[in-house]
């Protein structure tokens, strides 16, 4: 019976992750306000403090020829897909769409919603510093967050107090800690949960009301802690790169002709979404939010230390490698994305130096699964040292 409960919770998370518009409609039916966001640099806490449920716009994995007239061909499929869903009317129930000035591809997807999908009067573009590793970045962000808070107050016709913000920060930090505990299971030799399951839960958490999500996460973790581990994980694979919400691809990574397990995913749709906290109990809540968001694992689009060109994300990646001990690394990025594959140029030699074999997979709206499978199996053969 216990096992059934665990599976049912994971199934519910996966269903929400794969059917976000349905979840938005259910919020509307409950009389809740909801806001879609297109980049994880948007401080969800401000929306949540105002009584709005923030949820990330994820992709539908449908071919979207109709967006070619709105976004340039050589923009990534993630941005095309998000634009497509706006045009298709999947998210007409949203009360607001928000993004931050970070990824230009997602910025154009946002513009499509604003100009052509009926969101002219319910949109907000938040300013975000181009490079976050500078002294003025914190102040810039706090000011930008202040303007966003004022916009949200005007929209909801209510003031957002420090208490509201503190409560939201606590709810979100709790969610981050719970997700971290879930991912920590994958460090074990015999984890009670698989990588694709953890990925599904993490995706769902990005589109759910955080209190509901936290309740489900607590139940899930309680059940997992009581369970013995499952089968030994086989070859341990770590994924690092850009946004990927294709759970089918993660399933494929664990269904090769060799035993494999995903033990970590460093991307803004997985660990980079939650692997940080916002300081609690601070006098200035917006400064606290700015400090928290600056402390995130940086997005490659924002991650250059002026003067040295250092990428701070690499320190995190090296730490994850040390902690989660992958046998192989998969560099995963969207076709036509610039920052993510540019990072691979510098990151791959670091991974090579650690003696960890790697491969690269380039994502599009649909993916060549047979080719990806062969590439992944070839990677595993290299890890296992297969010879005739």
């Amino acid at each position: 019976m216990e096992k059934k409960g665990r599976d049912a919770i994971i199934e519910r998370f996966r269903h929400i992750a794969e059917n976000t518009p349905e979840y938005v409609r259910s919020l509307k039916e409950k009389g809740r306000l909801s806001a879609g966001y297109m980049c994880t640099h948007v401080p969800e806490e401000i929306l949540y403090a105002a009584g709005i449920v923030p949820l990330r716009i994820l992709t539908s994995h449908e071919s979207q020829a109709m967006t070619r007239g709105y976004i340039h061909e050589t923009y990534c499929s993630f941005s095309h897909d998000c634009a497509y869903q706006g045009l298709k009317g999947d998210y007409d129930h949203l009360d607001l769409i928000v993004t931050s000035s970070s990824c230009i591809h997602m910025g154009e997807a946002f513009n499509v919603w604003v100009r052509f999908a009926g969101f002219q009067d319910k949109s907000y573009l938040m300013q975000y510093p181009h490079i976050i590793h500078t002294k003025p970045a914190g102040g810039f962000m706090a000011e930008s967050f202040k303007q966003f808070k004022e916009f949200v107050e005007k929209l909801t016709k209510r003031s957002v107090t420090d208490n509201d913000l503190e409560e939201a920060i606590k709810v979100y930090n709790h969610n981050r800690r719970l997700l971290k505990r879930l991912w920590e299971f994958l460090r074990h030799d015999r984890p009670p949960i698989t990588g694709p399951e953890v990925a599904a839960v993490t995706l769902a958490s990005q589109v759910m009301d955080k209190k509901e999500c936290n309740g489900m996460l607590e139940q899930l973790i309680e059940r997992l802690e009581a369970e013995p581990g499952q089968a030994a994980p086989g070859v341990r694979l770590m994924v690092t790169g850009g946004a990927c919400d294709d759970l089918g691809l993660f399933d494929l990574m664990e269904h090769l002709r060799y035993d494999t397990s995903i033990i970590f995913i460093d991307s803004c749709t997985a660990a980079r979404y939650f692997w940080f906290e916002v300081p609690e109990g601070r006098h200035d809540k917006l400064e606290a939010l700015a400090e928290g968001y600056i402390g995130k694992i940086p997005c490659p689009a924002k991650d250059t230390v002026p003067g040295t060109g250092e990428k701070k994300r690499f320190r995190f990646v090296q730490q994850f490698i040390e902690d989660f001990k992958p046998d192989g690394v998969i560099f995963l990025y969207q076709r036509f994305c610039s920052p993510q594959p540019m990072d691979v140029v510098a990151l791959k030699p670091i991974v090579d130096k650690l003696g960890i074999p790697s491969t690269e997979l380039e994502l599009d709206t649909t993916v060549p699964k047979a080719q990806f499978q062969t590439q992944l199996e070839a990677l595993v053969e290299i890890i296992k040292g297969v010879t005739p």
């Binding site: 076709r335 491969t359 080719q371 590439q375 070839a378 053969e381 010879t387």
Partner: protein
């Protein structure tokens, strides 16, 4: 082993202790190869049709005239894009591992970099002296730099691959064409056809673009000597010559006994033999 069907009639399969076979279901052609105690005995190549059928046809071609039956073969390993559809195979190994193993078997233990240019994909492989793959890079989704794009270009200029290869090597002049996308390159070529550019220059331009694309992939993984080129396009001296020129490295000379398109299937057969031997020693 070369040609569509090849048999070493000096060998007698009834005396072999281990009969192993590989089957490689590529995008353009499907191949089968049989080893008797590690020595090449029979091979066949057929044009790939729906995968399962081609695997069977290729194996049938290799078995024909030998008197051998499928059930006489101790172990069969499948590889290639449609390898999973070879339902009669006992095991499957990736074309990366098979390409490396086959290349080292043919050219010897000095091989470190294998460039495999096939019908639907292009791959660069690093390997050890024992033929174990250690790293690889695969072309992206674009068809530029692979066999299919060369065939499409041949259709555009109305010439076969062998003829275009010869022309490409002969022509000193060549326009710059896109090396980013096969479709862009052919669209540019079509404009040049209409502007009455001599077809020889056009062909040379296209070959240079394809060779640049392939060479970039090799440079990204890194060139380690010795270097060999395998796969269907390794039979095209226009491509291999230009790639060597751009990389400033000569590949080891093709073995006249071996069709380079058969290298991965040889690797698959070597894996099959290895599995047989390990099973034998386990028993």
């Amino acid at each position: 082993m070369s040609g569509n069907v090849s048999i070493n009639k000096k060998m007698d399969w009834t005396k072999a202790r281990v009969i192993a076979a590989g089957v490689d279901i590529g995008a353009a052609t499907s191949k089968a190869l049989i080893l008797l105690d590690g020595q090449p005995y029979a091979s066949s190549q057929v044009t790939t049709r729906p995968h399962g059928e081609s695997a069977f046809d290729a194996m049938k071609g290799a078995l024909e005239e030998t008197g051998l039956k499928l059930e006489n073969i101790n172990c069969i390993v499948a590889t290639g894009r449609g390898g999973a559809q070879a339902t009669f195979a006992h095991k499957a190994v990736s074309e990366i591992a098979c390409g490396a193993a086959g290349a080292v078997r043919i050219w010897g233990p000095s091989v470190r970099t294998v460039l495999d240019i096939g019908g639907q994909s292009c791959r660069v492989i690093h390997c050890t002296e024992k033929g174990r793959a250690t790293a690889f890079l695969w072309n992206d989704k674009c068809a530029a730099g692979i066999g299919r794009s060369m065939e499409a270009f041949g259709d555009l200029v109305g010439k076969g691959l062998a003829e275009t290869a010869e022309i490409a090597l002969r022509s000193d002049k060549f326009p710059k064409l896109s090396d980013f996308c096969a479709v862009y390159a052919q669209s540019e070529a079509l404009d040049l056809v209409r502007s009455k550019m001599p077809v020889e220059e056009l062909i040379a331009g296209y070959y240079h673009a394809v060779a640049r694309r392939i060479s970039t992939l090799v440079n990204r993984l890194g060139m380690k000597k010795d270097f060999v080129i395998i796969g269907g396009l390794a039979r095209n001296p226009g491509i291999t010559g230009l790639v060597e020129g751009i990389l400033k490295v000569s590949s080891l000379a093709p073995d006249p006994e071996w069709d380079p398109a058969l290298v991965p299937v040889l690797g698959a057969a070597l894996y099959a033999e290895g599995f047989c031997k390990r099973q034998g020693s386990d028993a």
